[in-house]
Amino acid sequence: MSGLFTHLLAAAETVGADGNAISQMLHRFGVDWPFFIAQVINFLIVGSLLYFFAVKPLSAKLQERRDKIEDGLRYTDEMKQKLDDAQKRRDEILKEATIQAQDVVRQAGEQGKAVLSQQSQQAAEQAEDILKKAREQADQQYEAMLKQVRQEAADLVVQTTAQLLKRDLASDERGRIADEAAKSISRK
């Protein structure tokens, strides 16, 4: 702008040299050079002030706004993307979890069956054990009884034999046995 004015002034001056018509015209329009120049300077000052303190911050603010809006839009896109991903993963996890859950249920079922069979086997074994013990006990009692009978029978046999021998052994027989015994001891 100022450049334009200076060109105009320079043109006016060149015109003024060869004819007064222009300067007069200018004068008539109230153009006073010093005043004009001062005004031009004033204008420049005000203009630069406005430029630095109003236009620049304002444009910066505008730029910022624009950026923000752009960011926002981009963020929305990302979010959308993420949401999609999350949904996809949720589906996957759900699927996996279902499989795992089924697995656990199956395992639990198997274990339950195993435990059950083990328990029933144990119970059977225990029952068997109890039966065995009872049988053993009965056997033992029977054995003990037999043993007692045997002992008493043996005692009886020995006692009876002794009594009979004492009473019924003929004295010559006794003498013969004694001689035999003496010989047997001598031979030993």
Binding site: Q111, E136, D139, Q140, E143, A144, L146, K147, V149, R150, A153, A154, V157, A181, S184, I185, K188
Partner: protein, 512 residues
Amino acid sequence: MSDILEQIKAEIARVSSATQQANVGRITAVADGVAHVSGLSRAMSNEMISFPGDVFGMALNLEEDEVGVVLLGEASHLKEGDEAKTTGKLLSVPVGKELLGRAVDALGRPVDGKGPIAAKENYPVERIAPGILPRKSVDQPIQTGIMAVDAMIPIGRGQRELIIGDRSTGKTTIATDTIISQAAINKKGIAGDDKNFRPVYSIYVAIGQKSANIARTIALLEAHGAMQYTIVVVASAADNPSSQYIAPYAGCAMGEWFMRNGMDALIVYDDLSKHAVAYRQISLILKRPAGREAYPGDVFYLHSRLLERAARMREQDGNGSLTALPIIETQAGDFSAYIPTNVISITDGQIYLETDLFNQGVRPALNVGLSVSRVGSSAQTKAVKQVGGKIKLQLAQYRELAAFAQFGSDLDARTKSTLDRGARIIELFKQPVAAPKPMEVEVALLWAMHNGHFDKIAVKDMIRAAASLEEYFKSTQTALLGKIAEKKVLDDGLEGELKAAVEQWSRTFGAE
């Protein structure tokens, strides 16, 4: 009934009228289970002497004109002037597998009311221990099922490991746990298809104990299915001192039968302090000179000849073994008394139990510093050695630091980590009664401890965590446990599997 008559007939037919020769004597004095007999000029040392009324005794003192005989069994009817006869037999007891599952007295006669024992063989009670040649060094483990013992004080087949401690510190429990653990291993091994599996038969000798305690022990063994692999030799406090004196030798003879027939046996002498006391009593009545603490001069030989009979035989001699776990009770923790020092010097190591630890709730109340196993480490399973090797060191460091840590609160990170690890190891080693752990479970737990998988768990939760991990392994990782049990050594592959398993467990345990 008819077969009884048949038997009697057969016996009568067998009776011969041959001359019987005997060496006789007369009782000159009888008191306190010992009879002094004049005559018996041909009696041998340790020979069985018969008295009227089916009473037997053992000739212990052979003097110029008199024989000192310890009476076995009820002998209150004997009096001065009664006739005594030599039998020509050394005191012997029935031996063999027929005795398994039975409770017998010091002479091998049944006391459990389960009828007569049809044993085919008899072994003399006193026998010279195997010499140097037929022996072999200990190289196979005995799994006690107690993690602390298996990891730090391993016991091998043929070893003599003393269990020593004050009264009620869990000495018998360690022995019975071992028997129960052997029974569990036997059951599994016999059911399995391993042809090289060698079952371990157990003999529990109760010397001078209260009858109620013995009954409880038998009930415990029966409840855990261990009785079918066990012989219980009973010489309770109510039995006379000579029975208490004989009982360990009788039990040892039963164990020797297994050893000499190429099998493995474990014998527990519970306890040898009372055995020494019974022997002291007999010796004093026999008027043998008394020495320190009134024990006779040969009280060392009393135990050394008994414990020397535990051995591991080399292959040419049957490859059998007899492992001995003698128990000694100390008074107020004084293990430098006469009998304890004797037995410590005879055995291949000791498991030392402490009252303080027991009262703090550390059970088994094992003092790691004083417990050693001199030969067991060469028999230890490789996998246990791999994981348990450093644990003993860490525990020792912990004990040392724990004493100092009571004073200062500012500890450097290293000290703190040692303390934390130690506290967790102690918690890990706590184990309830009659719950022996299989080797592979021990390896898994020790591996987890060794590799810091318990470090994040609070000390107070350790017992729960260990139980949970054990449960987890047993319920879901049976294949892995089987592999450890089979390979018996941890390679990279197994360690990887262990790591994966333990990590999976720690996720679930944290989530609970």
